[in-house]
């Protein structure tokens, strides 16, 4: 007891001597950490504030058109700057159809590439193709556009379209002039642009399939394809759908590549060989020409439509992925 109390008396003296130093550093830390919190917090706040600003600014600059045409803006395909009549239907149609073509091509191909990389290639081949996929994703869209217009469109006009027209021309989709440019070419180029996204995500989710499960299926005598069909793909399905959403978002908003090859005409035609337009290509072509307020507001309204479409797919994708992560964490 005596010993302890002696120490007790000593201790406060030591802390008292140290106190000013500790206090000072603690205060400093309080101030600098406060600055740190505020600086990072404010920077982070810029993101939602900017998003809100974007929506407000676009609403303020499209209200003339929205008031003038109402819902008719979405249902009319009459786009005529001369008579100041604006209907967005042909652009919306073009955006959706070109995206659907792209998805129809890129989804199965991307999944197939993912399978090829995970199931049937050596590590060396996989790393080589992995780099190639990354490079394909890194090429800027304007180069896809130029290549599409000067190289791929003539190729389509000379080799693909006459052939398809001859054998499948009885289907209205493939009945049209072999111009090269048009809806089908746009869809194919968009497919090439989103292929890297679909295939790299597919590869990643296929890799996560536990090999024990696959080996069990092989052990039961399944062939390669049966393992893929009944084990790998069902296991990775959620991830593949997530990849689809990401590709969808990119294809919907792609501007430069589409502007080069879609032909830019405001009309809706049954044939995929015909020229048409998309929301993004209309904006790229006409925005600087919009001199009257109503024209400008109609174009911003068109941008708003595209924004709403992409934001819907993005939110769906985000929620889907979150659901996916929760599910993976839970199981």
């Amino acid at each position: 007891m005596k010993f302890l109390s002696a120490h007790r008396q000593k201790l406060p003296i030591a802390t008292q001597a140290l106190n000013p130093i500790l206090e000072k550093s603690r205060n400093n830390r309080g101030v600098s950490d406060g600055v740190f919190r505020w600086a990072t917090g404010l920077s982070a706040a810029i993101i939602p504030v900017g998003m809100l600003g974007l929506i407000i600014v676009m609403l303020l600059n499209s209200h003339l058109a929205l008031k003038e045409f109402g819902l008719g803006f979405l249902t009319s395909d009459n786009w005529n700057p001369v008579t100041q009549e604006f209907g967005a239907l042909s652009s919306i149609y073009g955006t959706f159809v070109s995206t659907i073509i792209a998805m129809l091509i890129a989804m199965p191909m991307g999944i197939a590439v993912g399978l090829f990389l995970v199931e049937w290639s050596s590590p060396k081949v996989e790393s080589f193709f992995g780099t190639a996929i990354e490079l394909l994703a890194a090429i800027p869209s304007i180069i896809y556009g130029m290549w599409g217009l000067f190289v791929f469109a003539p190729f389509m006009a000379d080799h693909v379209q006459p052939f398809v027209n001859e054998y499948f021309g009885f289907i209205p989709l493939f009945d049209g002039p072999p111009l090269g440019i048009g809806m089908l070419t746009t869809g194919i180029i968009l497919a090439l642009m989103i292929l890297p996204y679909v295939s790299s995500i597919s590869r990643d989710v296929f890799k996560m399939v536990p090999s024990v499960i696959k080996e069990s299926a092989y052990g039961l005598g399944s062939t390669n394809w049966e393992v893929t069909k009944y084990v790998t793909i069902p296991y990775a399905l959620h991830g593949i759908i997530g990849a689809g959403f990401l590709g969808l978002g990119r294809a919907l908003g792609e501007t430069m590549a589409v502007t080069f090859v879609i032909g830019n005409s405001h009309r809706i035609s049954a044939s995929l060989f015909e020229t048409c337009n998309s929301i993004a290509s209309t904006l790229a072509n006409e925005f600087t020409e919009a001199s009257e307020p109503l024209y400008l507001h109609a174009l911003v309204a068109l941008g708003l439509v595209l924004f709403l479409i992409t934001i819907t797919t993005q939110v769906a994708a985000q929620l889907w992925l979150k659901h996916l992560v929760r599910k993976a964490g839970g199981s």
């Binding site: 919190r37 676009m58 197939a112 590439v113 394909l136």
Partner: protein, 282 residues
């Protein structure tokens, strides 16, 4: 499936394998086709004049795109200088300060949506926000548009890279008495250095090929810029205008510019991949 003979099942399996290999080969062929096209058509235009002279009117030989190269560099540097610090701070908030809070969750969601917003929409946003009030297209507006596109990318990669740093490192630093900000910038950032650098390089690569947001912000110009409040020449819009023109010498210049942009972007991508690989080996 049971009724199918083994031969049949094996044949189907082999067919799928062939189709999958074919898909991969098609992707590779497309990549090579595009690269070869740009190189073979663009290499002829890349000479000394291309980098040093102003553009000439169509039909006149010679001339270059020096002003567009400079414009693209200036706008990309301004955009990077704005977006990288803010984006890194915001990413730090998501990973270090606000981690686990509803606020961080919400900002992360908005940020991910922002990454998916088409760049042409950002162009419209900056047009009505900056170009209309300033009564004219300007290099500043172009740089801001690029910064807005870059910001969410930097935020996401920063957060991703900081999250990879194990908590034990943070705890050790804090236990030694380091303050929060010192722990973050001296310890966590150092541990994530290569990843952060990769993220920045990829973000720069991404915006330096952007065309759509510049179409109605920076516009284009055939002269040297004398300030940020006037239209500024840049490579991508020049490619667009020249490629769409009927003049063959302009189209040749567009291919040259495409080659220049493509090589720069691929170099950035490969460099970042290399840095990431070195990180993995450490």
């Amino acid at each position: 499936m049971q009724s199918n003979s083994l031969k049949m099942r094996k044949a189907v399996s082999r067919l799928v394998k062939v189709l999958a290999t074919l898909s991969a080969v098609i992707g590779l062929v497309a990549l090579i086709w595009i690269l070869m096209t740009v190189v073979s058509r663009g290499i002829g235009s890349l000479n000394f004049e291309f980098f040093t002279e102003l553009p000439t009117p169509p039909g006149m030989s010679g001339g270059g795109l020096a002003n567009a190269i400079a414009g693209t560099l200036v706008m990309t540097v301004i955009a990077a200088a704005t977006a990288i610090p803010i984006g890194m701070l915001a990413g730090t908030y998501l990973s270090e300060v606000g981690k686990g809070t509803g606020m961080a969750e919400f900002i992360r969601l908005v940020n991910n949506i922002m990454i998916g917003v088409p760049s042409i929409i950002i162009g419209i946003f900056i047009y009505v926000l900056i170009v209309v009030p300033m009564k004219g297209f300007s290099g500043l507006a172009g740089a801001v548009a690029l910064a807005v596109i870059m910001l969410p990318i930097v935020v996401r990669t920063t957060e991703d890279m900081l999250t990879l740093v194990p908590d034990s490192i943070r705890e050790s630093a804090l236990a030694l008495g380091a303050s929060r900000w010192r722990t973050t910038f001296d310890i966590v950032f150092r541990a994530a250095k290569n990843g952060l650098l990769t993220g920045v390089l990829l973000a720069v690569a991404r915006v330096s090929g952007e065309t759509a947001p510049l179409l109605f912000t920076a516009l284009n110009s055939s002269y040297w810029f004398s300030g940020l409040n006037e239209p500024m020449a840049n490579l991508t819009v020049t490619i667009f205008n020249y490629a769409m023109s009927p003049y063959t010498d302009w189209q040749a210049k567009a291919w040259g510019a495409s080659l220049l942009i493509m090589v720069s972007i691929l170099a950035l991508t490969v460099t970042s991949r290399f840095i990431m690989k070195r990180q993995g080996r450490q």
